[in-house]
C-alpha cells in the first residue's frame, strides 16, 4: 500500500508544477478515493462507495479531480476552475464549482435514495484542436433501513443531453442497489454526443492492475467489456469484499471546425471518463460442487444409518441390558 | 272416615296394622305365618276387621310388604319391606327425634337401613344368604335351653359374671354348640348373654356398612328381647331407640304408605 503512496506523491508534485491550466490532451476523471491518509480515515464504505457521515447519519460524497489513466496512481489536480453540473436523483440540475482548498474537490449531500450524477466539462484549444474533456461520476446512495421498496423507478441511469459527450453504464436486467460489478460480468457503456448515440468512439477500459482494452462503439454507440479476473491471492487470504477500481475513457475525433473563445480550431477531440469499482466474482469463492458434495454426503450417510438401524432392529429387540 | 291397612307377611309372623286418616293406629295383629301365606294373611285381616266391626270394602287402600307381598292379591300395591320399614321407623320413632339408622332383625334376615330426614332410603345393607344371628337363631337357642322366647331377656339381665364368648352364630350348629356348653357345666344365663353379645357384634358390623352416626332405631321381633337390646347398646356405645311395638313397625310403614298412595290417587284423579 505504501509504495503506491509514494508514486502518488510524485505525480502529485508533478501536478503542482503545472498551473491550473490543464494540458488538454491529458485524461481527467473524478474519483472518490481521497488523496491523503487523514481524509481516508474520515471515509466510510457504503453501497455507493466511500462516503462521509454528516449530521444525523446524512451521507456526504466527496469527489476529487484526478489526471492520468491509472485508476490507482493518477495524480490529484490542485486547482481547477471548470464548471460542474450536478444532477440529483429527482433530475434537478444545478451548478457546482471545485472548492480548490488544497485539492480540486467537490462535496455534496445525498439525502435521497438513488444516483447522483456530476459532470465536469473542460474545453481547451491546443495547436488548432479543441479538446472537449468531460469527467463524469455517478454516485449511488442507499441504506437498507429505508427498505427496498420501489427500486425500479430509481435504478435507471440519467441521460444528460447537454453533455457534449457522455458515457452511460447500462443497467443489467435484475440490478438492485445491492448489485455489484464482479469479475467476469459484462459491463456495457453507451456513448452519447449531445444525447445522440455516437458510433465509432474509441472506448478504453483500464483497471487498477494496468489491464487495458480498447473497443470501438457500434452503431448505437454501445460497447461491452467483460471484466477481467485479476485477483489471485492464497485462498486463505482471500477477501470477498476486495474493491478494485476501473476507468472507462471514451475518445472521439470529429472533423467539424469552429471558433472557441476567439481561437479557431479545425478538429474537435472529445474525451469522456467515468470511474467505478468491481469486486471478485462470487464464483471465485463459492463452490457449488463442494455444496452439493456435502449435502449428498449428509443425505447418504444418514440414509444408510437409518436403513441399517431398521434392518438390525428387526432381528434383535434392543432390551435394556445391565452390566 | 277412611281406613288403611298395612300387611307385613314376614317369614315367621304376619303383622297387620290398621290406621285411619289421622295416622293413629286403630288396631294391630300378629299371627304366625304358617305354610299357606296367602290364606293365613287374608283370614287374619278379616278377623281383625271383624273385631273392629268394619267391612273389607271400607278399607280405602291396602299395601302388602314382606317376603310374601306379591302373593296377596287383595292388596292394591306391594312395597319392599325396606322402604316400609323406613317409613314405619320414622313414624314410630318420631317422638324420640330424627332417626338416622334403622336396624331390623327379622325372622330370617338382618337389615340395616340409613334414611334421610324425609324417610327416603339413602343406603342399606342386608346379610348375605346365611341366616346366622337372626330371629331363627334365638328361637333355636330358646328351644335348646328349654326356656320361653320371652324369658331370654330376664336370663340375660340377672347374669352376674361375664358373658361366655360364643364364636359361631350359625343356626345349624347352634344346637350342638349349646349342648356342648351345657355339658361343660356353664349356666344358662352365661350362654344366653354370650349369644346376645355375638348377635350384637355381628349386627353392628353389618350396620357399620351404612354408617352409625345419629340416632339408631332397633325393631323387629327380637327387639322385644331386653337382653339383646342391652348387648346392642353396649356394643354400639350409645342408647338405641326401641318402639313400644317393635314387631309391627314395617306393617305400620306399609299402612302409612297406603294412606299417602291414597292421597296421591285422590289428587291425580
Amino acid at each position: 500500500m505504501n509504495i503506491n503512496f509514494y508514486r502518488m506523491m510524485i505525480s502529485f508534485l508533478l501536478g503542482m508544477l503545472l498551473t491550473n491550466s490543464l494540458p488538454a490532451s491529458q485524461t481527467y476523471w473524478l474519483s472518490d478515493i481521497p488523496p491523503t491518509k487523514e481524509l481516508a480515515k474520515k471515509m466510510r464504505p457504503s453501497h455507493g462507495g466511500l462516503v462521509q457521515r454528516g449530521k444525523r447519519g446524512m451521507y456526504i460524497k466527496r469527489l476529487w479531480l484526478r489526471e492520468g489513466e491509472d485508476p490507482l496512481e493518477s495524480g490529484y489536480i490542485k486547482q481547477n476552475s471548470a464548471s460542474l453540473v450536478f444532477v440529483n436523483p429527482d433530475k434537478k440540475i444545478s451548478k457546482m464549482t471545485f472548492r480548490n482548498k488544497d485539492y480540486a474537490d467537490v462535496a455534496f449531500k445525498m439525502p435521497d435514495e438513488g444516483f447522483y450524477n456530476l459532470f465536469m466539462t473542460n474545453r481547451e484549444i491546443e495547436n488548432g484542436v479543441l479538446y472537449v474533456s468531460v469527467a463524469k461520476n455517478e454516485s449511488l446512495n442507499h441504506s437498507c433501513r429505508a427498505g427496498h421498496g420501489d427500486v425500479k423507478s430509481k435504478i435507471n441511469p440519467f441521460y444528460y443531453d447537454e453533455a457534449p459527450i457522455d458515457i452511460i453504464r447500462e443497467r443489467r436486467s435484475r440490478e438492485t442497489f445491492h448489485s455489484r460489478i464482479t469479475s467476469g460480468d459484462v459491463v456495457s457503456f453507451t456513448i452519447l454526443r449531445q444525447g445522440k448515440p455516437l458510433p465509432g468512439a474509441l472506448v478504453k477500459m483500464v483497471t487498477q492492475k494496468g489491464w487495458a482494452k480498447t473497443l470501438k462503439s457500434d452503431s448505437e454507440g454501445r460497447v461491452a467489456f467483460e471484466m477481467i479476473r485479476d485477483y489471485y491471492p492464497q485462498w486463505h487470504e482471500f477477501k470477498r469484499r476486495k474493491m478494485e477500481g476501473y476507468l472507462a475513457i471514451a475518445e472521439y475525433k470529429s472533423k467539424d471546425a469552429g471558433t472557441y473563445a476567439g481561437e479557431k480550431f479545425s478538429a474537435v477531440h472529445y474525451k469522456v471518463t467515468s470511474s467505478g469499482n468491481y469486486f471478485p466474482s462470487a464464483r471465485d469463492y463459492k463452490s457449488y460442487l463442494y455444496g452439493l458434495l456435502i449435502g449428498l454426503f449428509a443425505l447418504t450417510i444418514s440414509g444408510f444409518t437409518v436403513y441399517f438401524y431398521r434392518r438390525r432392529r428387526l432381528k434383535i429387540y434392543k432390551e435394556k441390558r445391565f452390566g | 272416615m277412611n281406613y288403611f291397612a298395612g300387611v307385613d307377611i314376614g317369614s315367621t309372623a304376619i303383622k297387620i296394622v290398621l290406621i285411619d286418616d289421622t295416622k293413629n293406629i286403630i288396631s294391630s295383629k300378629v299371627t304366625p305365618t304358617g305354610s299357606q301365606f296367602r290364606k293365613n294373611a287374608v283370614d287374619a285381616l278379616h278377623a281383625m276387621l271383624a273385631d273392629c266391626n268394619l267391612a273389607f270394602d271400607e278399607l280405602a287402600y291396602v299395601i302388602s310388604t314382606g317376603y310374601g307381598r306379591k302373593l296377596l292379591k287383595e292388596a292394591d300395591e306391594s312395597v319392599s319391606e325396606i322402604t316400609a320399614n323406613a317409613i314405619g321407623a320414622m313414624e314410630a320413632g318420631r317422638e324420640h327425634g330424627v332417626i338416622n339408622t334403622i336396624i331390623n332383625i327379622g325372622g330370617q334376615d338382618t337389615k340395616a337401613i340409613q334414611i334421610d330426614e324425609s324417610g327416603t332410603v339413602t343406603n342399606f345393607a342386608m346379610n348375605e344368604k346365611c341366616a346366622a344371628g337372626t330371629g331363627k337363631f334365638l328361637d333355636v337357642t330358646a328351644r335348646n335351653l328349654e326356656i320361653e322366647l320371652e324369658e331370654l331377656g330376664d336370663y340375660h339381665l340377672n347374669l352376674k359374671t361375664a358373658p361366655l364368648p360364643i364364636n359361631s352364630t350359625c343356626v345349624v350348629f347352634a344346637e350342638s354348640e349349646i349342648i356342648g356348653l351345657l355339658a361343660d357345666g356353664h349356666g344358662k344365663e352365661e350362654i344366653v348373654a354370650g349369644i346376645h353379645y355375638s348377635i350384637a357384634k355381628r349386627t353392628i358390623r353389618l350396620a357399620k356398612r351404612v354408617g352409625l352416626e345419629g340416632l339408631v332405631y332397633f325393631d323387629g321381633g327380637p327387639a322385644l328381647n331386653k337382653g339383646l337390646v342391652a348387648s346392642m347398646e353396649d356394643e354400639l356405645g350409645k342408647k338405641i331407640v326401641i318402639p313400644d311395638f317393635p314387631q309391627i313397625t314395617t306393617a305400620l310403614g306399609a299402612s302409612v304408605l297406603a294412606y299417602e298412595a291414597y292421597l296421591d290417587e285422590m289428587e291425580s284423579a
Partner: protein, 443 residues
C-alpha cells in the same frame, strides 16, 4: 319314542322327546334337551314375554338365540372358528387371517356347575361356566368346532383357566398384556405381543394377514361399531326408547353371530328406535329411574340382575361392562393405512381406552362412569360383582366413593349364576328402585 314332562323352578313346563336312536354313539342327547337349552329357553321366554312392547326388530335377535342357544343350530358351518376368552383379543386380526372370532364367555348356570370341578368354591362363575362349557360333551354345537382358544391373560382366573383349557385338549394361545397401560413401555410391550400374535395367527388359521384383508376386517368391525355407537347415543333419550335387557341381548349376540347380519340387524333396530324417538314413545314407566349397570359382565342367559331391575320398574339406560359397551365402544384409528400403522392402531385401540379393572389404576373407569352418568342423566348405578371376582370387588369402594361424591346412589350386588339368591336380590333391587323413585319424585 316316549315323552317326558319337565317342570322348572320358575313354573315353566316343557315336553321332551327322548331320542334313543342308535346312530348317536355314546348316547349324546340332542342339545335342545340339555339343561343349558332349558335354562336358555326359560330366560329367553322371560325376556320376551314379561315385557309388553319389545321393538319389532328385536325378533331377529330373539330368533337367533332361539336357533343357537335353544335348538343348538350353529350360525357358522365351514368357517374356521377361533375362540377368544376376553374383549382384549383383537378380532380384526382374526378376521384378517380368515378366521372367525367367537367369544367363549358363557352365562349358563349348568356350565357353571360343570366347571365347578376345575375351580375352587369361591371363584368367578363366568370362568367356571366357560370351563364347564368347553369340557361339557353336550355343549353348544359351534363350541365343539373350536380348536384354538386365545387367552389374553387378563384377570388371574382367566389366565389360570387358560392352562386348564389346555389340559382339556384345546391348543391355547396366550397373549401378554401389560398390567399397567399408561406408560410408553406398556404400549410398546402390547404392540410387540400383538405383532407376535398376528404372525402366529398364520399357524392357527392357515393364511397370512395381508394389507387388504386387514383393511376389509377393520372396515367390517368399524361398520358394526358405528351401528352400536348410534344405538348408544339413542339410549341417551328421555323418555328411554329401549330397555337395557334388549341391549344386552344385542351385544351378547355379537359374541357368536355373523358380523354382517349383526350390523344389518342393529341398523334396522336403530331406524325403529329413531322412529320411536319422534313419537316420544317410552319403553319404560313414566318416572322409571334411569340405571347405569356396571361391574362383572352380564352374559345371556345370566341376565338375572338386569331383567330383575327392569321388572321392578327401573330402566337400564347405559352399561359399562365388557360384554357390551367396553367391547364395542372404542373404534380403531389409523393415520397411514399401511400394515405397520394399522396393526399398531389396533393394538392401541384395545389397550389404551380400556377401562377393565385388571389394570392397576382405574381413574379412566371413574371418569368414564361419571361422564356417562351425566350424559345419560342417570339416577342410580347398579354395580354387579360375581362372588369370587376379585378385580371388580376390589374396585367397589373407590368407584362407590367417586359416584357418591357426584351424588349418584350405588347399589352393590355380589351374586353368581345360581338362582337361589333371587328372593333376597329382588328385595334389595326393589328397595333401591323405590328409593330412587322417591328421590326423583321429590326433586
Amino acid at each position: 319314542m316316549n315323552r317326558l314332562l319337565m317342570v322348572t323352578s320358575s313354573g315353566w313346563k316343557k315336553e321332551i322327546k327322548v331320542s334313543n336312536d342308535p346312530k348317536t354313539d355314546e348316547k349324546k342327547t340332542a342339545f335342545n334337551l340339555t339343561h343349558q337349552a332349558i335354562e336358555a329357553e326359560s330366560m329367553l321366554r322371560r325376556i320376551k314375554d314379561d315385557f309388553p312392547d319389545n321393538p319389532e326388530s328385536m325378533n331377529y335377535f330373539y330368533d337367533l338365540y332361539q336357533q343357537v342357544y335353544c335348538e343348538g343350530r350353529s350360525v357358522y358351518d365351514k368357517e374356521k372358528i377361533v375362540g377368544t376368552m376376553c374383549v382384549q383379543v383383537p378380532e380384526e386380526l382374526i378376521y384378517a387371517a380368515g378366521g372367525v372370532p367367537v367369544r367363549l364367555c358363557s352365562g349358563f348356570y349348568t356350565d357353571d356347575q360343570h366347571g365347578a370341578e376345575f375351580m375352587p368354591a369361591k371363584s368367578c362363575s363366568l370362568v367356571k361356566a366357560t370351563l364347564g362349557m368347553l369340557s361339557n360333551k353336550s355343549t353348544l354345537p359351534f363350541i365343539n368346532k373350536v380348536k384354538t382358544v386365545v387367552s389374553p391373560t387378563t384377570c388371574d382366573q382367566k389366565r389360570k383357566a387358560g392352562a386348564i383349557i389346555e389340559e382339556m385338549g384345546y391348543d391355547v394361545y396366550n397373549m401378554e398384556l401389560p398390567p399397567l397401560k399408561e406408560s410408553e413401555e406398556a404400549r410398546l410391550y402390547w404392540q410387540r405381543s400383538i405383532h407376535k400374535f398376528s404372525v402366529s395367527l398364520k399357524e392357527i388359521t392357515g393364511n397370512k394377514i395381508t394389507k387388504d384383508s386387514l383393511k376389509k376386517a377393520i372396515g367390517k368391525t368399524a361398520a358394526a361399531q358405528k351401528a352400536y355407537r348410534k344405538l348408544h347415543n339413542l339410549r341417551k333419550e328421555t323418555p328411554p326408547v329401549l330397555l337395557g335387557k334388549d341391549v344386552f341381548m344385542i351385544t351378547n349376540a355379537y359374541f357368536f353371530d355373523k358380523i354382517e347380519n349383526w350390523t344389518a340387524a342393529v341398523n334396522k333396530l336403530n331406524e325403529e328406535l329413531e322412529q320411536r324417538k319422534e313419537e316420544k314413545f317410552s319403553a319404560a314407566q313414566r318416572r322409571a329411574p334411569r340405571i347405569l349397570f356396571t361391574g362383572s359382565p352380564a352374559i345371556f342367559p345370566n341376565l338375572k340382575l338386569p331383567v330383575l331391575i327392569e321388572e321392578s320398574g327401573g330402566v337400564i339406560v347405559a352399561d359399562e361392562n365388557c360384554s357390551s359397551n367396553r367391547m364395542l365402544y372404542d373404534m380403531i384409528t389409523v393415520d397411514e393405512w399401511n400394515m405397520s400403522n394399522m396393526v399398531d392402531g389396533i393394538a392401541d385401540n384395545y389397550l389404551k381406552p380400556c377401562t377393565c379393572p385388571i389394570f392397576t389404576n382405574n381413574d379412566d373407569r371413574k371418569r368414564k362412569l361419571i361422564n356417562m352418568s351425566q350424559e345419560f342423566a342417570v339416577d342410580g348405578v347398579v354395580y354387579q360383582t360375581f362372588s369370587g371376582c376379585q378385580v371388580y370387588s376390589m374396585e367397589q369402594s373407590s368407584i362407590t366413593k367417586v359416584l357418591r361424591d357426584e351424588g349418584i346412589p350405588v347399589l352393590l350386588v355380589e351374586s353368581d349364576y345360581s338362582p337361589d339368591d333371587m328372593g333376597q336380590l329382588s328385595t334389595r333391587v326393589e328397595a333401591f328402585i323405590e328409593s330412587l323413585k322417591a328421590k326423583k319424585r321429590r326433586k
